[in-house]
Symmetry: C2
Amino acid sequence: NTTYKIAVLAGDGIGKEVMPEGLRVVTAAAKRFGITLEFTEFGWASCDYYAQTGNMMPTDWKAQLSGMDAIYFGAVGWPDIVPDHISLWGSLLKFRREFDQYINLRPAQTFEGVRSPLADRGAGPIDMMIVRENTEGEYSSVGGIMYEGTPNEIVMQQSIFSRRGSDRVLKFAFELAKTRARKHVTVATKSNGISISMPWWDARAAEMAGQYPEITWDKQHIDILCARFVLQPQRFDVVVASNLFGDILSDLGPACTGTIGLAPSANMNPERDFPSLFEPVHGSAPDIYGKNIANPIAMIWSGAMMLDFLGGNDSDGQCRLAHDAIVAAIKSTLATGPHTADMGGNASTTEIGVAIAALV
Amino acid sequence: NTTYKIAVLAGDGIGKEVMPEGLRVVTAAAKRFGITLEFTEFGWASCDYYAQTGNMMPTDWKAQLSGMDAIYFGAVGWPDIVPDHISLWGSLLKFRREFDQYINLRPAQTFEGVRSPLADRGAGPIDMMIVRENTEGEYSSVGGIMYEGTPNEIVMQQSIFSRRGSDRVLKFAFELAKTRARKHVTVATKSNGISISMPWWDARAAEMAGQYPEITWDKQHIDILCARFVLQPQRFDVVVASNLFGDILSDLGPACTGTIGLAPSANMNPERDFPSLFEPVHGSAPDIYGKNIANPIAMIWSGAMMLDFLGGNDSDGQCRLAHDAIVAAIKSTLATGPHTADMGGNASTTEIGVAIAALV
Ligand SMILES: CC(C)[C@H](C(=O)O)[C@@H](O)C(=O)O
Ligand SMILES: CC(C)[C@H](C(=O)O)[C@@H](O)C(=O)O
């Protein structure tokens, strides 16, 4: 019987409030399906730690985490203490890059009981998977400022795409589409405006698509693609995008389904050379921290994705069953309550965690 | 009495169908308000011209256009003949850059008779102005490919921001906000992820905002900003953004108001050192070309923006009145018909132009 080792990093703000509920539900599911989990909590990767030490993480963070199978991650950021680009590049973005978590997988679905802000949802349910490249592209740290502090100041920042980095995320998207009913991939691009990297990206996509004759695909410029998320979201199945475009689409998709506070994500290294990281899409929400009113569902759903990933490709395994049980419990709670304030209810963070754990 | 010289470039596809209606309405308004316009039509800046000559424009395009006060522009692109990045960089993007049209102004508003895809529009009308930087930023032509054609291929593309380029668009946005009721500016950013150029952009915005104590402002990361366009679009007043983010927001904003086919834009050089360019946001729509069913309202509305710009800062002048008369005629046509197919009617492109011209 395998023991899965999980690093727990709650981070800042509501990360610290939703994490206990995520752990509660994941533990309940593990117990029910006979999965052995070993949790280790770390106080760093937080702005509190930064305030004490001047760094987001200890120097040996990699050694401390590298024996782990997964990182269960809350939310990082407390702009009053640390500017976001320092707190994020010092933690989350370091994990993604140094642990080569090159797939960021983010579902966007409509649920019974969750009202979409789009009218006419008679158009059919929304059920898409956004596959975001997670290690390169527009999020580089290459660039600088010239003539700094003068009227002639110029700032440059490179976007950097590798064939290896692009092909592997495109491949993941086409493989994922094979497992889905509609078997369609939409490739986000902006090759009419961003005239070097994006036409090249289009060519990589076309070459990859050629290897999947059973999958239909199209490419859409990010501007009109965002518009179509609003106009015809039910049409999308798998959407694959660069780091920046994937970031945008994976907030916009859940906004269109009404689930922006519920969206989970998996930052994965599919080869398991490094631990993968599971986190809610939402941030640390300083404005509501401390009231125990944050919705823990994104954290809990991310925990379900973590269990599914731990179980590997075994679609009949206990980990898959644990995942499915958590998702079913989330669905039933969304449909019938209790609800937190963001969903029009008055339940606390803790009450939601307890309710979902009980259903599991 | 000034004569305004206008270059007419219809371009490709439905550009050729909507342009005559734009001209019809602009001419009618000019006549009514005693404005003298001189139109010169050019057959280039089109993929047809490219098919004949191998270039999008003649070598002396700048000389041919430089005496003009404005360019009235249809739509460019016919991907079956010319890849988009070649047709656009060989025409529209050249104008924007070489004529230093550094402001791209794009309104997004709800109208009576136009259904927003967002439910609950009881939340109040949407009325925002998107101010897009139009000459630099993410749309650079600086970069290249290394190890081309090999598995080690790497592509780089620079984003380039200058203090001059950023400050002038930020200033325009804050000045525009002064003229509006809500006096609020939202600055699009992504400084938590794009860690060199965007924190710098935030600092430019903060410095500019400091000079406008009467204007309230905030900055929002592009991912959550896109989500809020869907969730609370009525909250936005002036939104200022880099080239790429402005491109995305100015498709998404009209999508949220239901006016994606109606959205106009002004590509302006406010100093009038070069001609400014007025064009619909929509493209050449190869799929519906040739049927005379395209909606000409974006073209017509862009014509109204052109007249307003030509009249300068004289808010009581004839040009402003002509602008207002066209917008009023558009509103009344949207409310009571006739409508083209995209709005649920069966009127032709021509019929809409004739109807709006008659009202003017
Ligand atoms: C056609 C394309 C290059 C252009 C842009 O991205 O600027 C268009 O989308 C626009 O918004 O005017
Ligand atoms: C916090 C930020 C750096 C991050 C990103 O842009 O990747 C977040 O928005 C996300 O989507 O995970």
